[in-house]
Symmetry: C2
Subunit: 298 residues, 2 copies
DNA sequence: CGGAATCATCAGAAGAACTGACGACTACTG
DNA sequence: CAGTAGTCGTCAGTTCTTCTGATGATTCCG
């Protein structure tokens, strides 16, 4: 009978490409991974790996096993969830990936409320960019992800994930306070010549910001680039840049920046997602519900 | 993550009832089973076993895991079958359970033919009564079973098994040779007062034989009872008893017994069965095909 | 109230898996 | 076209898990 732990290694290899990356991801030594996969190959009786360059490639037969490994993990996860659901008290561990502004605005209250409702649930939080967070949740590194969705940007790859919207918030133009601003800027068009701060290339937020500027008829000069929205705020408040920021970043802190509505009144959607196989897990559901309560209150 | 090997132990426990039986069945020591199940309980985080008298009972939560274990094994088996199917050459191991007369009449030729067609397949044969053979095949102790089906006897429990008929053979009254027989018996009615040899109580064959006699208007005196049809033959040939025997028992040996058709011309069906999850296994399929070829030739 | 059956626990033995070092090979880089 | 870095396979030794066998507690049965 094929060993499940080895199948998981193979599945991870299919996802990551090299033995070294698998070892890194699952905290083994590369040698252990190599040995275990050799054993799997012997168990299976057919070649699974082919050396190709300095890496390895999976044979079609290995792909069959990868698919099976996915099914097996799903079944296991479903069983664990049912098990947990049958326990009267909600308990367990929930690993959550959250992007920065949600981490700041939502998580403190959510964690406090969760501690009150379900003290036996241990919530672990890791900050991640939405794109990688979704991927890692799919790959079972997290049980729940809080991610965002910008208008006119296709929702990134949600195969096998169950998505539920948490809240939406308006995206507005953040301008320096009047006493810091040299010129009198009052709207998007007035900001066309100013230096911008945006998130790095490749993020949904950056794409949205650039598109908005182009729709207004200019190409923004992106002088500053950071994924840290708090840093963006400081740049705006100190008069060094303008930015497009969702409202959620302002919760819980006073600001001197001036916020101006955009013509199209765009809104960002904040949502949670988890693997469908884990849907019946009461601990994850409980935290998801708590998040929704907190988000509704903001 | 729950350990699959431990889930299998739990599943076996659900099927067999006591730790000792599980240990016996899977060739572990009872202590190993106890320890592994304790670990599983710790992994699961919920109680799985309850001491009850001197044995143990499964909690409802354990039943959930048992169901999951079944699913997992099915998935694994399907994957292995697909894997084997993708290999160009047919190879592997096939464990077959066969009842006595098929073992004598069919298997020698089938094994020879199989060695010719697929030398890389290792066929292991165990002789078993049809009832237990079917059950053990369901329980994954065999990959293929050759069993029989008597008329008017419900096909025993084939849940999850794929059945294919191999052949049928006439069931006839076997009478002693004339020189051994004191009285001139020529048909079923004439045998009403003679001593009978039948299979043990609880077998389909016994049930059929008794019903046949009763339909003819008498209760047979079963003086001899044995599951060994070759022994029954000897008792008939030596003039000690009469019997109802399927034709297959005569293949490959000359007989002095006289065979008389029964009024209803009943036939016994010989069939093969395997778990549906293993249907794509080429080694099992190959042997099944070989058996069908051989059976057709008899 | 023995005697047999069953499971839990423990210490030690057996076995499986992992680590770290080495060597072979391949791609990239200047 | 060498030098360097990245990747995998293998091997010996260690670590960790799992199994065995002995012992004790509990229950059922006669």
């Amino acid at each position: 009978m094929l060993d499940l732990r080895r199948l998981v290694l193979l599945r991870e290899l299919a996802a990551r490409g090299t033995l070294a990356a698998v070892a890194e991801a699952l905290s083994y030594s590369p040698s252990a991974v190599s040995q275990q996969l050799s054993l799997l190959e012997k168990e299976a009786g057919v070649p699974l790996l082919r050396r190709s360059g300095r890496g390895v490639r999976l044979t079609p037969q290995a792909e069959v096993l990868v698919a099976a490994a996915g099914e097996l993990l799903d079944t296991l996860e479903r069983a664990e969830a049912e098990l947990a659901a049958s326990a009267t008290e909600v308990r367990g561990r929930v690993r959550v990936a959250v992007f920065q502004s949600a981490a700041l605005a939502l998580m403190p209250a959510a964690l406090r409320e969760m501690g009150r409702r379900h003290p036996q649930v241990r919530v672990e939080m890791v900050q991640r960019e939405p794109e990688s967070a979704l991927h890692e949740t799919w790959a079972r590194e997290f049980d729940l992800v809080v991610a965002e969705h910008y208008p006119a940007h296709a929702a990134p790859w949600l195969m096998g994930l169950d998505r539920r919207d948490l809240t939406t918030d308006a995206i507005r133009l953040a301008l320096p306070p009047r006493d810091e601003a040299p010129t009198a800027v009052e709207d998007l068009d007035g900001a066309r010549a100013l230096p911008w701060v945006m998130e790095p290339r490749g993020t949904a937020s950056r794409h949205f910001a650039e598109q908005t500027c182009r729709a207004a008829g200019f190409e923004p000069e992106v002088r500053y680039e950071t994924a840290d929205l708090q840093a963006q705020i400081r740049l705006v408040e100190s008069g060094n840049a303008v930015a497009l920021l969702p409202d959620l970043v302002w919760t819980g802190r006073p600001t001197t920046a001036r916020l101006v509505d955009l013509p199209a009144h765009p809104r960002r959607t904040v949502f949670t997602a988890q693997r469908v196989a884990g849907l019946r897990s009461p601990a994850v559901s409980a935290f998801r519900d708590t998040l929704e309560t907190v988000a509704a209150a903001v």
